[in-house]
C-alpha cells in the first residue's frame, strides 16, 4: 500500500486551471495524476506517484533504478489507462 512508483510528467494543466492535474508516463502507461502535493512539478520532471498523487520529485537516475527494481520484482502492475 505504500508503494509509490516513479514516472515522468508528460503534460500538466496550465496554472489557473481548476485542478492541478496532468499526465505521468510510467514506461509506456499513461495515467492522470494530481500534483496538488507537489505543485511546483513541471513537464519533464520525474515524480514518485502514490494512489494517483505525486508525492515528491525524484531525480531521473534514481527514478530509473527504482523502476528497474519494481519491474524485476513484479511489483508494478499495469496501471489503469487514462481516458485523456
Amino acid at each position: 500500500m505504500c508503494l509509490a512508483v516513479p514516472g515522468k510528467i508528460v503534460s500538466r494543466a496550465p496554472d489557473g486551471a481548476d485542478l492541478p492535474l496532468g499526465t505521468v508516463d510510467f514506461q509506456g502507461s499513461r495515467v492522470e495524476v494530481s500534483f496538488a502535493l507537489v505543485p511546483d512539478a513541471a513537464v519533464g520532471d520525474w515524480v514518485l506517484v502514490h494512489a494517483g498523487f505525486a508525492i515528491t520529485l525524484l531525480d531521473e537516475a534514481e527514478a530509473r533504478e527504482t523502476w528497474h527494481y519494481l519491474e524485476e520484482a513484479g511489483l508494478v502492475e499495469s496501471f489503469p489507462e487514462s481516458d485523456s
Partner: protein, 368 residues
C-alpha cells in the same frame, strides 16, 4: 538481485559488512515497520542473506492489517444501504468481517468498485449522481494527503454524493504505544520510506532521543534496505543510536509541507482503535466538523463496533512484532492466502501473506 546503474554500493559489500558487524553482536532485533518493507525483504531475497542473529520482526505498518474488525463490519453494513456504491482500494476486498467480506457482498450483488486512487471514486460520484459513494479511506500518512485533497476537490465541486469512511492511521503514535508497552526488545527500526516522504525524517526524533533506538529511513529497493540494515547494525555495534536517512533523494527532514498542510486543513487527530492493539490516543485521522458532510459516519449514521478477532487468529501479535506467522497454529493450515482468516494473510503487504508466499527457503535469515 538488481544492481543499480548508479552504483552507490555493491550489495555484496553491504551483505558482507552486515555479516561482519553481526559477528560481534548478540541477537539483534530490528522492526520493519512497513508492510511494503516486509514484502520487499522477501521478494528481493535480502532476508535470506542476513545473518541468523539479525532478527527482523514485523511492525504495524500494514494499513489493512491494523484496520479494526469494527471498521470492516461497518463497511459491509454500508453496502446494504440504498443507492450506496462502496469504493475501496483492492486490498480491503477479501478481509473477513464477522459475516462475510466485501468480496462476498460483491458476489451477492452489492455495488462495490475497486479504486487505484480516491480520485477514481470522485470521478465515479461525478458521473453517477444518483448513487451515494462511500470511499473506504484507509492508509497511513502516505495516503491520507490524497484523501484530504479529494475532500477539498469534492467541496470545490460541491459534490452531494461523496463521503469517506476514514480509517487513516498515524505511524509514530503506534510506535510510541509499542515502545511504551515496555515488553518489546526491539533494538532498532527500519522506517518506512514513503510515509517519511510525507512526514519527514525529523518526525522520528523521539525514537532516538526518548527511546534510544537505532533508526534508519529507507526506500524499498534492495540496495536501500541493505544500506539501512548495515547502518542499523553499525549503530548497534558502536552503541550510538541515531537517525539515519538513506533515502535522501526522496525524504527530507521536514517532509512534504503541502501534504502536511492538507492534513491539517481537513483532518483532526483522533483516538483510534488499532486491530488487537486497542485504542491508541491521537493515532488516527477524522474529518474536521466543517467537512462533516463528506463524513460517511455522519451522513449514514454508521457506527464502528467493537473489535473482534476470529478464534485462534493471532494477527494482533504478528503486527506488534511478538509472533512470527509460522508460530500461529492456523498458519498454512486453516489460514492460507486462498482462504484467509485474518487480515495479515489477506493483505498484499500482510506479514502472514509474505511468509506464506515466499516459503521457508527465504525465511532462514534471522531465524534462530
Amino acid at each position: 538481485m538488481a544492481v543499480g546503474k548508479n552504483l552507490r554500493e555493491d550489495p555484496q559489500v553491504l551483505i558482507q559488512a552486515i555479516n561482519e558487524i553481526c559477528l560481534e553482536l548478540d541477537t539483534i532485533r530490528l522492526m520493519e515497520v512497513c508492510g511494503t518493507h516486509t514484502v520487499s525483504l522477501f521478494r528481493s531475497g535480502v532476508r535470506s542473506l542476513l545473518p541468523a542473529n539479525l532478527r527482523l520482526v514485523s511492525g504495524p505498518g500494514c494499513p489493512v492489517c491494523v484496520t479494526s474488525q469494527g471498521y470492516i463490519d461497518a463497511a459491509i453494513d454500508a453496502t446494504r444501504l440504498d443507492n450506496v456504491t462502496l469504493c475501496t482500494y483492492g486490498d480491503m476486498l477479501r478481509v473477513p468481517g464477522r459475516a462475510g467480506s466485501l468480496e462476498s457482498r460483491r458476489a451477492e450483488g452489492a455495488a462495490i468498485e475497486i479504486c487505484y486512487s480516491i480520485r477514481d471514486a470522485l470521478r465515479y460520484a461525478g458521473a453517477n449522481k444518483d448513487r451515494q459513494v462511500i470511499f473506504l479511506s484507509v492508509g497511513f500518512e502516505t495516503t491520507a494527503p490524497a484523501a484530504a485533497q479529494a475532500v477539498l476537490e469534492a467541496e470545490q465541486k460541491d459534490l452531494q454524493n461523496f463521503t469517506i469512511l476514514s480509517g487513516h492511521k498515524l505511524v509514530m503514535p503506534a510506535l510510541g504505544a509499542l515502545l511504551a508497552s515496555g515488553d518489546m526488545p526491539i533494538d532498532g527500526f527500519l522506517l518506512p520510506g514513503h510515509v517519511s516522504v510525507i512526514i519527514g525524517s525529523d518526525a522520528y526524533a523521539d525514537l532516538v532521543d526518548v527511546h534510544a533506538k537505532c533508526c534508519a529511513v529507507a526506500g524499498f529497493e534492495p540496495l536501500q534496505m541493505l544500506s539501512a540494515i548495515r547502518a542499523l547494525a553499525a549503530q548497534l555495534r558502536h552503541g550510538t543510536p541515531r537517525l539515519e536517512n538513506v533515502y535522501g533523494v526522496a525524504v527530507s527532514g521536514a517532509g512534504n509541507r503541502h501534504a502536511l498542510s492538507s492534513l491539517d486543513r481537513v483532518f483532526d487527530e483522533a483516538d483510534t482503535v488499532w486491530r488487537a492493539m486497542g485504542t491508541i490516543p491521537l493515532s488516527g485521522l477524522e474529518l474536521k466538523d466543517e467537512f462533516g458532510r463528506f463524513d460517511a459516519r455522519k451522513r449514514f449514521g454508521l457506527t464502528i463496533g467493537d473489535d473482534y478477532d476470529p478464534p485462534g487468529c493471532r494477527c494482533g501479535e504478528v503486527i506488534q512484532g511478538r509472533l512470527d506467522p509460522p508460530d500461529c497454529a492456523l498458519f498454512g493450515a486453516e489460514c492460507t492466502h486462498e482462504q484467509p482468516i485474518g487480515p495479515c494473510m489477506v493483505s498484499g503487504e500482510g506479514t502472514c501473506a509474505a511468509w506464506y508466499r515466499y516459503g521457508p527457503a527465504k525465511t532462514q535469515g534471522g531465524r534462530p
